[in-house]
């Protein structure tokens, strides 16, 4: 019964997110601007310069998975804002009085955010094709890459809910969200190979879930090299499970 209630609530949360998107897509479009600029400006220029050794791969192709992920993770990291807002209104209180378990609220909202993030990536994807990025021409690979994207975005949304339960106010949350997102991006293999980083940063990059997500999607979308995929997916799942658990526990705090 519990599982059924919780599952139903999760699907309701996903449906809510889709309905909101249907009514107002402005946010999805405006949020696509920055990643598209990364590809169109930074990617194109750095491809010409050839300053970063990426083997046979053009630089713009190299950073496409990272940019796609950055755009989705941006959505996820700021998803906590929705939770902070819902805390200020009565929505969270009301969800707590629904029959589903409290972790279903966290997991459901995280998955809903993951869905929103995938929609975000779907807008950038065709732009990348127009910019000349050559994807692996295998729909299965591309679908798998979006699944990875979805998994890691859900995890970051849970992280965001965790932060929201600690911060509780919009201003504090914004501060921390901003502080989190850029280091996350730079301390990963999104823009350059890990080997180029100083050793200290390398150690951080190895612990950064984004690194594994970039590696997996780069293999699936660009290089077609799946040798690291199993480890990557495993790392992402460990991250998801751990952060869902932590966020579910700390979620109690947000209500009192």
């Amino acid at each position: 019964m519990t599982a059924k209630d919780s599952l139903r609530e999760m699907f309701a949360m996903i449906e809510l997110e889709m309905r909101r998107l249907r009514h107002d897509r402005t946010e999805i479009y405006t949020r696509a601007v920055q990643p598209i600029l990364w590809l169109a400006v930074f990617g194109t220029v750095m491809s010409e310069v050839r300053g970063i050794p990426t083997g046979d791969m053009p630089y713009i192709d190299y950073i496409t998975p990272g940019v796609l992920l950055q755009s989705t993770i941006f959505v996820s990291v700021f998803y906590g804002l929705t939770i902070v807002w819902e805390r200020e209104t009565g929505i969270l209180k009301r969800l707590l009085v629904a029959p589903a378990s409290r972790s279903a609220v966290v997991v459901g909202r995280s998955i809903a955010s993951g869905v929103r993030a995938v929609v975000q990536a779907l807008i950038i994807f065709p732009v990348a094709i127009l910019l000349g990025v050559r994807f692996v021409p295998n729909p299965l690979y591309i679908a798998a890459a979006f699944l990875v994207l979805f998994l890691v975005s859900g995890g970051f949304a849970a992280l965001s809910i965790f932060v929201a339960s600690l911060m509780k106010t919009r201003e504090r949350f914004m501060g921390l969200g901003q502080a989190l997102i850029m280091p996350l991006f730079f301390a990963s293999n999104a823009l350059y190979p890990i080997e180029l980083m100083p050793p200290a940063l390398q150690r951080i990059a190895v612990l950064n879930p984004l690194t594994y997500a970039v590696d997996a999607t780069r293999g699936l979308l660009i290089s077609g090299d799946l040798s690291g995929l199993a480890v990557d997916v495993f790392a992402i799942i460990v991250f998801d499970v751990a952060i869902f658990a932590v966020a579910s526990v700390s979620f109690r705090k947000i209500i009192e």
Binding site: T2, D5, R8, E9, F11, A12, E15, L16, R19, R20, H23, D24, E88, T89, G90, I91, K93, R94, L95, L96, V97, A98, P99, A100, I255, E256
Partner: protein, 331 residues
Amino acid sequence: MKMAFAIEARRLKKVYDGRTKALDGVDLQVSPSEVFALLGPNGSGKTTLMRILTTQFGPTSGEARNFGLDVVKSGREVRRMIGYVPQETSVWADISGFENLLIYSKIYGVPSSRRRKNIQDALSSMGLDEVATRMVKTYSGGMVRRLEIACALLVKPKILFLDEPTIGLDPSARKAVWENLTTFKKEYGTTVFFNTHYMDEADLYSDEIAIIDRGKIVKSGTPSELKHSLGSEILRFHFNFNHANSNHDGSDGIGEGALVAVKSLGFVRDAVISDSMLDVFVEDGETALPKIVEALITEGASIERISAARPTLDDVFLRYAGNISFGRGGG
């Protein structure tokens, strides 16, 4: 076996962060199908009590049951049979009213076979049929509140908890909310438990009232019992400031000596000083008045005006939860 109360709280205490005492031993009973109003000043523990009864968090000690089910041990079962509308907005503004009901019906687990019907029922109970497809952000405050109540009606709850259901609404919107609620209640026999600041609402729509102050229930009864508990008449004395007794630093120039003297009269049920007025609660105003005037003049008070009135719930509230009441501590 005796019939279970719809709501029953025993020695309920809640302490926040080991310091702030929000509830200090609340005892409360609400019978099935009753409309119960909880009155109290800001910070008296009203919302805390409601959040415990709706299983949002547990009490520090004591216990509470809804229809015999413990709110801590059987939280899940309790949540299945209650509807709850928090004080703050609890619907999504960026989707339509109908979509809000649809999402909530899924969250609350209304079976898909009954979903359309329950949504339709909830919409018509709250008089929202015509605006159902509009975006909630275009709704008026009263419509939003009715939509929130409609969301709580989806599960056909046995108990409906409303936290300040009409706060911030204009009088006609308040009336609309209550008219719809009353019709719904008549049809389904739902127990309604609500918190409010509005005395007139409690007086008009509730069967039973409890007054909470500083985390304790200080008085409860039907609206007319409460009003009669003050005596059948209030004599209100307005004092002349310029000549008022200035021997005491008591409130606004009325001496505490005068209050004590009036209270010591055998027929006086109670007396309360507020602002520059003294309210004396008596059974028979006509015979009481001369004796009270005499006592006041002996104490040196200068009376400007005297008026008589029947006690209202405002008087009851001020008597039991008002900050300037000297009669505090009495049952």
